[in-house]
Protein backbone atom coordinates (compact mmCIF):
# COMPACT_ATOMS: atom_id res chain seq x y z
CA UNK A 1 0.00 0.00 0.00
CA UNK A 2 1.41 3.33 -1.04
CA UNK A 3 1.15 6.26 1.31
CA UNK A 4 -1.19 9.18 0.81
CA UNK A 5 -0.36 11.79 -1.81
CA UNK A 6 -2.02 14.71 -0.03
CA UNK A 7 -2.71 14.78 3.69
CA UNK A 8 -4.38 17.36 5.88
CA UNK A 9 -2.96 17.73 9.33
CA UNK A 10 -5.39 19.41 11.75
CA UNK A 11 -6.05 21.94 9.00
CA UNK A 12 -7.93 25.14 9.71
CA UNK A 13 -8.65 27.56 6.88
CA UNK A 14 -10.51 30.81 6.89
CA UNK A 15 -10.72 34.48 6.26
CA UNK A 16 -9.85 37.22 8.74
CA UNK A 17 -9.35 34.71 11.56
CA UNK A 18 -12.84 33.23 11.10
CA UNK A 19 -12.54 29.53 10.28
CA UNK A 20 -14.30 28.26 7.14
CA UNK A 21 -12.73 24.81 7.48
CA UNK A 22 -12.15 23.82 11.08
CA UNK A 23 -9.58 21.25 12.33
CA UNK A 24 -9.80 18.77 9.48
CA UNK A 25 -7.44 15.79 9.46
CA UNK A 26 -7.23 13.07 6.83
CA UNK A 27 -5.61 12.05 3.59
CA UNK A 28 -6.15 11.38 -0.10
CA UNK A 29 -4.67 8.16 -1.52
CA UNK A 30 -3.00 8.22 -4.93
CA UNK A 31 -5.41 7.29 -7.71
CA UNK A 32 -8.44 7.86 -5.51
CA UNK A 33 -11.57 9.68 -6.63
CA UNK A 34 -12.88 11.77 -3.75
CA UNK A 35 -15.97 13.93 -3.78
CA UNK A 36 -16.19 16.84 -1.37
CA UNK A 37 -19.83 17.25 -0.44
CA UNK A 38 -21.65 19.46 2.02
CA UNK A 39 -24.08 22.37 2.28
CA UNK A 40 -23.38 25.87 0.95
CA UNK A 41 -20.85 27.65 3.11
CA UNK A 42 -19.36 24.39 4.33
CA UNK A 43 -15.87 25.38 3.23
CA UNK A 44 -15.64 23.10 0.18
CA UNK A 45 -14.26 25.69 -2.25
CA UNK A 46 -12.03 27.10 0.48
CA UNK A 47 -10.48 23.68 1.02
CA UNK A 48 -9.87 23.30 -2.72
CA UNK A 49 -8.31 26.73 -2.91
CA UNK A 50 -5.93 25.83 -0.11
CA UNK A 51 -5.03 22.53 -1.77
CA UNK A 52 -4.22 24.51 -4.92
CA UNK A 53 -1.90 26.67 -2.85
CA UNK A 54 -3.93 29.86 -3.17
CA UNK A 55 -4.80 30.18 0.49
CA UNK A 56 -2.50 29.86 3.47
CA UNK A 57 -3.80 27.79 6.41
CA UNK A 58 -4.74 29.67 9.59
CA UNK A 59 -3.29 26.69 11.43
CA UNK A 60 -2.35 23.09 10.77
CA UNK A 61 -0.87 22.12 7.44
CA UNK A 62 -1.24 20.44 4.06
CA UNK A 63 1.41 17.84 3.31
CA UNK A 64 2.28 16.78 -0.23
CA UNK A 65 4.06 13.45 -0.70
CA UNK A 66 5.72 12.68 -3.99
CA UNK A 67 4.05 15.56 -5.80
CA UNK A 68 5.10 19.14 -6.20
CA UNK A 69 2.83 22.14 -6.24
CA UNK A 70 3.09 22.25 -10.03
CA UNK A 71 1.81 18.69 -10.33
CA UNK A 72 -1.55 19.93 -9.10
CA UNK A 73 -4.13 21.09 -11.64
CA UNK A 74 -6.91 23.29 -10.32
CA UNK A 75 -10.11 24.03 -12.18
CA UNK A 76 -12.03 26.75 -10.34
CA UNK A 77 -15.68 27.58 -10.93
CA UNK A 78 -16.35 29.02 -14.39
CA UNK A 79 -16.73 32.60 -13.22
CA UNK A 80 -12.97 33.16 -12.92
CA UNK A 81 -12.36 33.13 -16.68
CA UNK A 82 -12.56 36.13 -19.02
CA UNK A 83 -14.74 34.74 -21.79
CA UNK A 84 -14.56 37.89 -23.89
CA UNK A 85 -10.84 37.31 -24.40
CA UNK A 86 -10.02 36.63 -28.07
CA UNK A 87 -8.45 33.24 -27.50
CA UNK A 88 -9.03 30.13 -29.58
CA UNK A 89 -9.86 26.70 -28.17
CA UNK A 90 -6.50 25.47 -29.47
CA UNK A 91 -4.60 28.20 -27.60
CA UNK A 92 -6.60 27.58 -24.43
CA UNK A 93 -5.90 23.87 -24.40
CA UNK A 94 -2.26 24.45 -25.39
CA UNK A 95 -1.80 26.45 -22.18
CA UNK A 96 -1.81 23.05 -20.50
CA UNK A 97 1.46 22.20 -22.25
CA UNK A 98 3.00 24.76 -19.97
CA UNK A 99 5.20 22.41 -18.03
CA UNK A 100 6.94 20.81 -20.98
CA UNK A 101 7.14 23.97 -23.08
CA UNK A 102 8.00 26.28 -20.21
CA UNK A 103 6.91 29.86 -19.96
CA UNK A 104 8.66 31.04 -23.05
CA UNK A 105 9.56 28.01 -25.15
CA UNK A 106 7.80 26.97 -28.34
CA UNK A 107 5.26 24.17 -28.22
CA UNK A 108 6.82 21.22 -29.99
CA UNK A 109 5.28 18.68 -32.34
CA UNK A 110 4.77 16.09 -29.61
CA UNK A 111 3.03 18.59 -27.34
CA UNK A 112 0.84 19.85 -30.17
CA UNK A 113 -0.16 16.26 -30.90
CA UNK A 114 -1.14 15.84 -27.25
CA UNK A 115 -3.16 19.07 -27.41
CA UNK A 116 -5.05 17.93 -30.50
CA UNK A 117 -5.67 14.51 -28.97
CA UNK A 118 -7.02 16.09 -25.79
CA UNK A 119 -9.39 18.28 -27.81
CA UNK A 120 -10.57 15.13 -29.61
CA UNK A 121 -10.97 13.22 -26.33
CA UNK A 122 -13.29 15.80 -24.79
CA UNK A 123 -15.38 15.81 -27.96
CA UNK A 124 -14.41 19.23 -29.25
CA UNK A 125 -12.80 18.04 -32.51
CA UNK A 126 -13.37 20.72 -35.16
CA UNK A 127 -13.62 23.51 -32.58
CA UNK A 128 -9.88 24.26 -32.56
CA UNK A 129 -10.12 27.66 -34.25
CA UNK A 130 -13.26 28.83 -32.42
CA UNK A 131 -12.77 31.61 -29.89
CA UNK A 132 -13.80 30.86 -26.31
CA UNK A 133 -16.45 33.60 -26.42
CA UNK A 134 -18.45 31.53 -28.93
CA UNK A 135 -18.53 28.38 -26.78
CA UNK A 136 -21.46 27.33 -24.65
CA UNK A 137 -20.90 26.72 -20.96
CA UNK A 138 -20.65 22.98 -21.51
CA UNK A 139 -18.22 23.34 -24.41
CA UNK A 140 -16.03 25.67 -22.39
CA UNK A 141 -15.94 23.14 -19.57
CA UNK A 142 -14.95 20.44 -22.08
CA UNK A 143 -12.13 22.71 -23.29
CA UNK A 144 -10.93 23.29 -19.72
CA UNK A 145 -10.96 19.53 -19.12
CA UNK A 146 -8.83 19.17 -22.24
CA UNK A 147 -6.37 21.64 -20.76
CA UNK A 148 -6.17 19.54 -17.58
CA UNK A 149 -5.60 16.46 -19.78
CA UNK A 150 -2.66 18.20 -21.44
CA UNK A 151 -1.32 19.35 -18.07
CA UNK A 152 -0.74 15.71 -17.18
CA UNK A 153 -1.19 16.58 -13.49
CA UNK A 154 -0.94 14.00 -10.72
CA UNK A 155 -3.54 15.68 -8.53
CA UNK A 156 -6.61 17.24 -10.10
CA UNK A 157 -8.86 19.63 -8.17
CA UNK A 158 -12.28 20.44 -9.64
CA UNK A 159 -14.66 22.97 -8.14
CA UNK A 160 -18.25 22.09 -9.07
CA UNK A 161 -17.24 20.91 -12.52
CA UNK A 162 -20.81 19.97 -13.49
CA UNK A 163 -22.69 23.04 -12.29
CA UNK A 164 -24.95 24.23 -15.11
CA UNK A 165 -23.70 21.44 -17.39
CA UNK A 166 -26.17 19.18 -19.17
CA UNK A 167 -26.51 15.43 -18.64
CA UNK A 168 -24.76 14.41 -21.85
CA UNK A 169 -21.67 16.58 -21.22
CA UNK A 170 -21.60 15.56 -17.57
CA UNK A 171 -21.48 11.87 -18.41
CA UNK A 172 -18.73 12.47 -21.00
CA UNK A 173 -16.68 14.37 -18.45
CA UNK A 174 -17.36 11.79 -15.73
CA UNK A 175 -15.88 9.17 -18.06
CA UNK A 176 -12.72 11.28 -18.25
CA UNK A 177 -12.65 11.46 -14.44
CA UNK A 178 -12.85 7.67 -14.23
CA UNK A 179 -9.98 7.39 -16.68
CA UNK A 180 -7.87 9.76 -14.60
CA UNK A 181 -8.45 7.58 -11.56
CA UNK A 182 -7.46 4.42 -13.42
CA UNK A 183 -4.29 6.18 -14.58
CA UNK A 184 -3.32 6.67 -10.95
CA UNK A 185 -4.19 10.36 -10.81
CA UNK A 186 -5.83 11.66 -7.67
CA UNK A 187 -9.09 13.47 -8.33
CA UNK A 188 -10.72 15.71 -5.72
CA UNK A 189 -13.97 17.32 -6.82
CA UNK A 190 -16.52 19.53 -5.10
CA UNK A 191 -19.94 18.19 -6.07
CA UNK A 192 -23.54 18.91 -5.07
CA UNK A 193 -25.30 16.04 -6.78
CA UNK A 194 -25.26 13.19 -4.23
CA UNK A 195 -26.55 10.72 -6.83
CA UNK A 196 -23.57 11.42 -9.08
CA UNK A 197 -21.24 11.15 -6.10
CA UNK A 198 -22.67 7.75 -5.11
CA UNK A 199 -22.44 6.52 -8.70
CA UNK A 200 -18.96 7.69 -9.59
CA UNK A 201 -16.88 8.57 -6.53
CA UNK A 202 -15.72 5.75 -4.23
CA UNK A 203 -14.55 8.22 -1.57
CA UNK A 204 -16.37 11.17 -0.02
CA UNK A 205 -15.42 13.91 2.37
CA UNK A 206 -18.59 15.35 3.88
CA UNK A 207 -17.76 18.81 5.07
CA UNK A 208 -19.79 21.20 7.19
CA UNK A 209 -17.01 23.49 8.27
CA UNK A 210 -15.89 20.59 10.44
CA UNK A 211 -15.29 17.20 8.88
CA UNK A 212 -18.56 15.29 9.33
CA UNK A 213 -17.42 12.08 7.65
CA UNK A 214 -14.56 11.00 5.43
CA UNK A 215 -14.34 7.59 3.84
CA UNK A 216 -16.26 5.18 1.62
CA UNK A 217 -19.07 7.12 -0.05
CA UNK A 218 -21.97 4.92 1.03
CA UNK A 219 -20.94 5.25 4.65
CA UNK A 220 -20.01 8.96 4.49
CA UNK A 221 -23.29 9.95 2.86
CA UNK A 222 -25.60 7.99 5.16
CA UNK A 223 -28.72 9.65 6.53
CA UNK A 224 -27.26 10.32 9.94
CA UNK A 225 -24.24 12.16 8.56
CA UNK A 226 -26.32 14.19 6.10
CA UNK A 227 -28.61 15.27 8.91
CA UNK A 228 -25.64 16.33 10.98
CA UNK A 229 -24.16 18.30 8.06
CA UNK A 230 -27.47 20.11 7.60
CA UNK A 231 -27.40 21.33 11.19
CA UNK A 232 -24.18 23.24 10.54
CA UNK A 233 -24.37 26.81 11.66
CA UNK A 234 -23.41 29.14 8.81
CA UNK A 235 -23.04 32.34 10.74
CA UNK A 236 -19.80 33.87 11.91
CA UNK A 237 -19.73 35.85 15.12
CA UNK A 238 -17.54 38.90 15.41
CA UNK A 239 -17.29 38.29 19.14
CA UNK A 240 -16.48 34.58 18.80
CA UNK A 241 -13.98 33.38 21.37
CA UNK A 242 -10.48 32.32 20.32
CA UNK A 243 -10.54 28.62 19.45
CA UNK A 244 -8.81 26.58 22.15
CA UNK A 245 -8.19 23.45 20.06
Amino acid sequence: MVGPVVSLDNLTLGYRRHPAVHHVTGSFAPGSLTAIAGPNGAGKSTLLKALAGELKPLSGRIRLDGVRRRDIAYLPQLAAIDRTFPMTVLDLVALGAWRSAGLFGAIGKADMARVLRAIETVGLGGFEARTVGTLSGGQLQRALFARVLVQDAKVILLDEPFAAIDQHTTSDLLAILQRWGSEGRTVIAVLHDHEAVRAHFPQTLLLARECVAWGATAEALNAEHLLEARRMCEAFHDDAAVCAA
Binding site: E54, I72, I81, L103
Partner: protein, 289 residues
Protein backbone atom coordinates in the same frame (compact mmCIF):
# COMPACT_ATOMS: atom_id res chain seq x y z
CA UNK B 1 1.43 65.66 -58.21
CA UNK B 2 1.19 62.56 -56.05
CA UNK B 3 4.90 62.88 -55.47
CA UNK B 4 4.50 66.47 -54.28
CA UNK B 5 1.60 65.53 -52.04
CA UNK B 6 2.84 62.33 -50.45
CA UNK B 7 6.55 61.80 -51.02
CA UNK B 8 8.21 65.19 -51.27
CA UNK B 9 7.49 66.32 -47.71
CA UNK B 10 9.47 63.36 -46.40
CA UNK B 11 12.09 63.31 -49.16
CA UNK B 12 12.97 66.96 -48.89
CA UNK B 13 12.49 67.74 -45.19
CA UNK B 14 14.78 65.96 -42.74
CA UNK B 15 12.59 66.89 -39.77
CA UNK B 16 9.63 65.16 -41.40
CA UNK B 17 11.74 62.06 -41.94
CA UNK B 18 12.81 62.04 -38.32
CA UNK B 19 9.22 62.47 -37.22
CA UNK B 20 8.10 59.60 -39.46
CA UNK B 21 10.85 57.28 -38.25
CA UNK B 22 10.01 58.05 -34.63
CA UNK B 23 6.30 57.41 -35.19
CA UNK B 24 6.93 54.10 -36.96
CA UNK B 25 9.10 53.02 -34.04
CA UNK B 26 6.36 54.10 -31.64
CA UNK B 27 3.84 52.10 -33.66
CA UNK B 28 5.80 48.86 -33.33
CA UNK B 29 6.63 49.43 -29.68
CA UNK B 30 3.47 50.99 -28.33
CA UNK B 31 0.55 49.57 -30.34
CA UNK B 32 0.95 45.97 -29.06
CA UNK B 33 1.14 47.31 -25.51
CA UNK B 34 -2.05 49.24 -26.15
CA UNK B 35 -3.79 46.09 -27.40
CA UNK B 36 -2.85 44.25 -24.22
CA UNK B 37 -4.04 47.13 -22.05
CA UNK B 38 -7.41 46.90 -23.81
CA UNK B 39 -7.53 43.10 -23.47
CA UNK B 40 -6.81 43.43 -19.75
CA UNK B 41 -9.68 45.94 -19.51
CA UNK B 42 -7.27 48.53 -18.22
CA UNK B 43 -7.37 50.93 -21.17
CA UNK B 44 -7.18 53.96 -18.88
CA UNK B 45 -4.02 52.80 -17.14
CA UNK B 46 -1.95 54.34 -19.94
CA UNK B 47 -3.55 57.67 -19.15
CA UNK B 48 -2.81 57.35 -15.45
CA UNK B 49 0.78 56.26 -16.03
CA UNK B 50 1.42 59.14 -18.40
CA UNK B 51 0.49 61.46 -15.56
CA UNK B 52 2.79 59.45 -13.31
CA UNK B 53 5.88 59.89 -15.51
CA UNK B 54 5.28 63.61 -15.88
CA UNK B 55 6.67 64.60 -12.45
CA UNK B 56 9.78 62.49 -13.06
CA UNK B 57 10.42 64.32 -16.30
CA UNK B 58 9.77 67.67 -14.66
CA UNK B 59 12.07 66.94 -11.73
CA UNK B 60 14.85 65.85 -14.07
CA UNK B 61 14.33 69.06 -16.02
CA UNK B 62 14.53 71.18 -12.88
CA UNK B 63 17.77 69.62 -11.73
CA UNK B 64 19.56 68.69 -14.97
CA UNK B 65 18.14 71.20 -17.42
CA UNK B 66 17.06 70.28 -20.93
CA UNK B 67 18.75 66.89 -21.05
CA UNK B 68 17.07 64.17 -23.03
CA UNK B 69 18.90 61.48 -21.11
CA UNK B 70 17.97 62.69 -17.65
CA UNK B 71 14.39 63.42 -18.58
CA UNK B 72 14.08 59.88 -19.95
CA UNK B 73 15.61 58.43 -16.79
CA UNK B 74 13.41 60.60 -14.58
CA UNK B 75 10.28 59.64 -16.47
CA UNK B 76 11.08 55.93 -16.39
CA UNK B 77 11.90 56.00 -12.67
CA UNK B 78 8.77 57.90 -11.68
CA UNK B 79 6.58 55.76 -13.92
CA UNK B 80 8.09 52.48 -12.75
CA UNK B 81 7.80 53.48 -9.10
CA UNK B 82 4.09 54.23 -9.51
CA UNK B 83 3.35 51.22 -11.73
CA UNK B 84 5.15 48.69 -9.55
CA UNK B 85 3.85 50.08 -6.27
CA UNK B 86 0.33 50.01 -7.67
CA UNK B 87 0.79 46.52 -9.13
CA UNK B 88 2.21 45.16 -5.89
CA UNK B 89 -0.56 46.76 -3.85
CA UNK B 90 -3.16 45.19 -6.10
CA UNK B 91 -1.58 41.75 -5.75
CA UNK B 92 -0.96 41.83 -2.02
CA UNK B 93 -4.08 43.61 -0.77
CA UNK B 94 -7.74 43.57 -1.78
CA UNK B 95 -7.36 47.03 -3.36
CA UNK B 96 -8.02 46.74 -7.09
CA UNK B 97 -5.31 47.71 -9.56
CA UNK B 98 -7.13 50.74 -10.96
CA UNK B 99 -7.90 52.12 -7.52
CA UNK B 100 -4.34 51.70 -6.25
CA UNK B 101 -2.97 53.21 -9.46
CA UNK B 102 -5.31 56.18 -9.10
CA UNK B 103 -3.98 56.70 -5.60
CA UNK B 104 -0.28 56.46 -6.51
CA UNK B 105 -0.32 58.53 -9.68
CA UNK B 106 -2.05 61.39 -7.91
CA UNK B 107 0.61 61.24 -5.19
CA UNK B 108 3.30 61.29 -7.88
CA UNK B 109 1.64 64.21 -9.61
CA UNK B 110 1.40 66.16 -6.36
CA UNK B 111 5.06 65.56 -5.50
CA UNK B 112 6.07 66.67 -8.98
CA UNK B 113 3.97 69.82 -8.81
CA UNK B 114 5.40 70.67 -5.41
CA UNK B 115 9.01 70.24 -6.55
CA UNK B 116 8.57 72.15 -9.78
CA UNK B 117 6.86 75.08 -8.10
CA UNK B 118 9.55 75.13 -5.40
CA UNK B 119 12.48 75.13 -7.82
CA UNK B 120 11.11 77.30 -10.57
CA UNK B 121 9.60 76.58 -13.95
CA UNK B 122 10.47 77.37 -17.52
CA UNK B 123 8.77 77.88 -20.84
CA UNK B 124 10.77 74.92 -22.20
CA UNK B 125 9.18 72.66 -19.66
CA UNK B 126 5.76 73.08 -21.24
CA UNK B 127 7.40 72.34 -24.55
CA UNK B 128 8.72 69.06 -23.18
CA UNK B 129 5.41 68.08 -21.72
CA UNK B 130 3.51 68.68 -24.93
CA UNK B 131 6.09 67.29 -27.35
CA UNK B 132 7.44 68.48 -30.69
CA UNK B 133 7.45 65.67 -33.17
CA UNK B 134 8.84 67.78 -36.04
CA UNK B 135 11.86 68.99 -34.07
CA UNK B 136 13.30 65.62 -33.09
CA UNK B 137 17.06 65.24 -33.16
CA UNK B 138 18.57 62.06 -34.63
CA UNK B 139 19.60 61.22 -31.07
CA UNK B 140 15.98 61.42 -29.91
CA UNK B 141 14.85 59.24 -32.80
CA UNK B 142 17.49 56.70 -31.84
CA UNK B 143 16.32 56.71 -28.21
CA UNK B 144 12.73 56.15 -29.30
CA UNK B 145 13.76 53.38 -31.71
CA UNK B 146 15.87 51.69 -29.03
CA UNK B 147 12.98 51.71 -26.59
CA UNK B 148 10.67 50.27 -29.24
CA UNK B 149 13.16 47.55 -30.16
CA UNK B 150 13.71 46.52 -26.57
CA UNK B 151 10.00 46.62 -25.90
CA UNK B 152 9.20 44.33 -28.84
CA UNK B 153 11.86 41.83 -27.80
CA UNK B 154 10.61 41.70 -24.20
CA UNK B 155 6.98 41.48 -25.28
CA UNK B 156 7.81 38.54 -27.56
CA UNK B 157 9.43 36.84 -24.59
CA UNK B 158 6.47 37.25 -22.22
CA UNK B 159 3.75 36.94 -24.88
CA UNK B 160 2.35 33.58 -23.83
CA UNK B 161 2.33 34.09 -20.06
CA UNK B 162 0.89 37.56 -20.61
CA UNK B 163 -1.98 36.13 -22.64
CA UNK B 164 -2.52 33.52 -19.93
CA UNK B 165 -2.46 36.22 -17.26
CA UNK B 166 -5.12 38.27 -19.07
CA UNK B 167 -7.37 35.34 -19.86
CA UNK B 168 -7.21 33.18 -16.76
CA UNK B 169 -5.00 34.61 -13.99
CA UNK B 170 -5.99 31.73 -11.72
CA UNK B 171 -4.42 29.21 -14.09
CA UNK B 172 -1.14 31.10 -14.14
CA UNK B 173 -1.19 31.29 -10.34
CA UNK B 174 -1.72 27.57 -10.01
CA UNK B 175 0.98 26.86 -12.60
CA UNK B 176 3.70 28.77 -10.81
CA UNK B 177 4.87 32.12 -9.60
CA UNK B 178 5.27 33.64 -13.06
CA UNK B 179 2.14 35.78 -12.85
CA UNK B 180 3.53 38.53 -10.65
CA UNK B 181 6.73 38.77 -12.68
CA UNK B 182 4.89 38.97 -15.99
CA UNK B 183 2.57 41.58 -14.54
CA UNK B 184 5.49 43.73 -13.38
CA UNK B 185 7.38 43.40 -16.66
CA UNK B 186 4.27 44.37 -18.59
CA UNK B 187 3.64 47.48 -16.50
CA UNK B 188 7.29 48.42 -17.01
CA UNK B 189 6.82 48.11 -20.76
CA UNK B 190 3.83 50.46 -20.57
CA UNK B 191 6.00 53.02 -18.78
CA UNK B 192 8.92 52.60 -21.19
CA UNK B 193 6.75 53.11 -24.24
CA UNK B 194 5.05 56.14 -22.74
CA UNK B 195 8.44 57.68 -22.03
CA UNK B 196 9.46 56.91 -25.61
CA UNK B 197 6.24 58.47 -26.84
CA UNK B 198 6.45 61.61 -24.75
CA UNK B 199 9.66 62.69 -26.45
CA UNK B 200 7.86 62.74 -29.78
CA UNK B 201 4.29 63.63 -28.94
CA UNK B 202 4.30 64.85 -25.34
CA UNK B 203 3.04 62.76 -22.45
CA UNK B 204 -0.65 63.30 -23.13
CA UNK B 205 -0.71 62.73 -26.90
CA UNK B 206 1.58 59.70 -26.50
CA UNK B 207 -1.26 57.90 -24.74
CA UNK B 208 -3.51 58.71 -27.68
CA UNK B 209 -1.18 57.10 -30.17
CA UNK B 210 -0.84 54.03 -27.94
CA UNK B 211 -4.52 53.52 -27.16
CA UNK B 212 -6.60 54.74 -30.12
CA UNK B 213 -5.34 52.20 -32.69
CA UNK B 214 -5.48 49.47 -30.04
CA UNK B 215 -9.15 50.16 -29.32
CA UNK B 216 -9.84 50.46 -33.05
CA UNK B 217 -8.23 47.10 -33.84
CA UNK B 218 -11.01 45.05 -32.21
CA UNK B 219 -13.37 46.12 -34.99
CA UNK B 220 -11.08 44.50 -37.54
CA UNK B 221 -9.44 41.40 -36.08
CA UNK B 222 -10.58 38.55 -33.85
CA UNK B 223 -7.41 37.22 -32.24
CA UNK B 224 -4.88 39.06 -30.11
CA UNK B 225 -2.18 38.63 -32.75
CA UNK B 226 -4.45 39.98 -35.47
CA UNK B 227 -5.41 42.97 -33.35
CA UNK B 228 -1.76 43.79 -32.76
CA UNK B 229 -1.01 43.69 -36.50
CA UNK B 230 -3.98 45.94 -37.26
CA UNK B 231 -3.04 48.38 -34.47
CA UNK B 232 0.54 48.73 -35.72
CA UNK B 233 -0.69 49.36 -39.27
CA UNK B 234 -3.24 51.92 -38.13
CA UNK B 235 -0.63 53.75 -36.05
CA UNK B 236 1.74 54.05 -39.01
CA UNK B 237 -1.10 55.19 -41.26
CA UNK B 238 -2.20 57.78 -38.71
CA UNK B 239 1.36 59.06 -38.37
CA UNK B 240 1.88 59.44 -42.11
CA UNK B 241 -1.49 61.10 -42.64
CA UNK B 242 -1.16 63.38 -39.63
CA UNK B 243 2.36 64.47 -40.54
CA UNK B 244 1.32 65.22 -44.14
CA UNK B 245 -1.64 67.22 -42.90
CA UNK B 246 0.60 69.21 -40.60
CA UNK B 247 2.99 69.81 -43.49
CA UNK B 248 0.48 70.90 -46.09
CA UNK B 249 -2.07 72.62 -43.89
CA UNK B 250 0.30 73.80 -41.15
CA UNK B 251 -1.74 72.14 -38.42
CA UNK B 252 -0.24 71.24 -35.05
CA UNK B 253 1.50 67.93 -35.89
CA UNK B 254 1.09 65.95 -32.65
CA UNK B 255 -2.62 66.65 -32.38
CA UNK B 256 -3.05 65.98 -36.10
CA UNK B 257 -1.58 62.49 -35.80
CA UNK B 258 -3.74 61.59 -32.81
CA UNK B 259 -6.81 63.09 -34.44
CA UNK B 260 -6.30 60.97 -37.56
CA UNK B 261 -6.13 57.93 -35.27
CA UNK B 262 -9.36 59.24 -33.74
CA UNK B 263 -10.99 59.41 -37.17
CA UNK B 264 -9.93 55.80 -37.79
CA UNK B 265 -11.64 54.85 -34.54
CA UNK B 266 -14.91 56.60 -35.31
CA UNK B 267 -15.01 55.18 -38.85
CA UNK B 268 -14.25 51.66 -37.56
CA UNK B 269 -16.86 52.01 -34.86
CA UNK B 270 -19.37 52.89 -37.56
CA UNK B 271 -18.50 50.47 -40.36
CA UNK B 272 -15.75 48.06 -39.21
CA UNK B 273 -16.36 44.42 -40.14
CA UNK B 274 -16.64 43.10 -36.58
CA UNK B 275 -19.15 44.28 -33.97
CA UNK B 276 -19.43 47.78 -35.46
CA UNK B 277 -22.69 49.69 -35.56
CA UNK B 278 -23.11 48.83 -39.24
CA UNK B 279 -22.36 45.16 -38.58
CA UNK B 280 -25.13 45.19 -36.00
CA UNK B 281 -27.61 46.93 -38.27
CA UNK B 282 -27.01 44.86 -41.39
CA UNK B 283 -28.51 41.45 -40.82
CA UNK B 284 -27.24 38.91 -43.28
CA UNK B 285 -29.40 35.84 -43.76
CA UNK B 286 -28.50 33.33 -41.11
CA UNK B 287 -26.58 30.19 -41.91
CA UNK B 288 -27.73 26.61 -41.69
CA UNK B 289 -25.38 25.61 -38.88
Amino acid sequence: MIYDLLIAPFAEDAAMRHALAACIALAFGGAPIGVFLVLRRTALIGDALSHAILPGVAIAFVFAGFSLLWMTVGGVLAGLAVALLAGATARLTPVKEDASLAAFFIISLAIGTLLVSAFGTDEDLLHVLFGKVRELTPQAVLTIASIATGSMAILALIYRPLIAECFDPGFLRSAGRAGALVHAVFLSLVVLNLVGGFQALGTLMAVGLMMLPAVTARFWAETAGGQIAVAVGLTVAAAVTGLLASFHAATQPEASIVLVAGVFYVVSLAVGPRDSIAARLIRLRHLEA
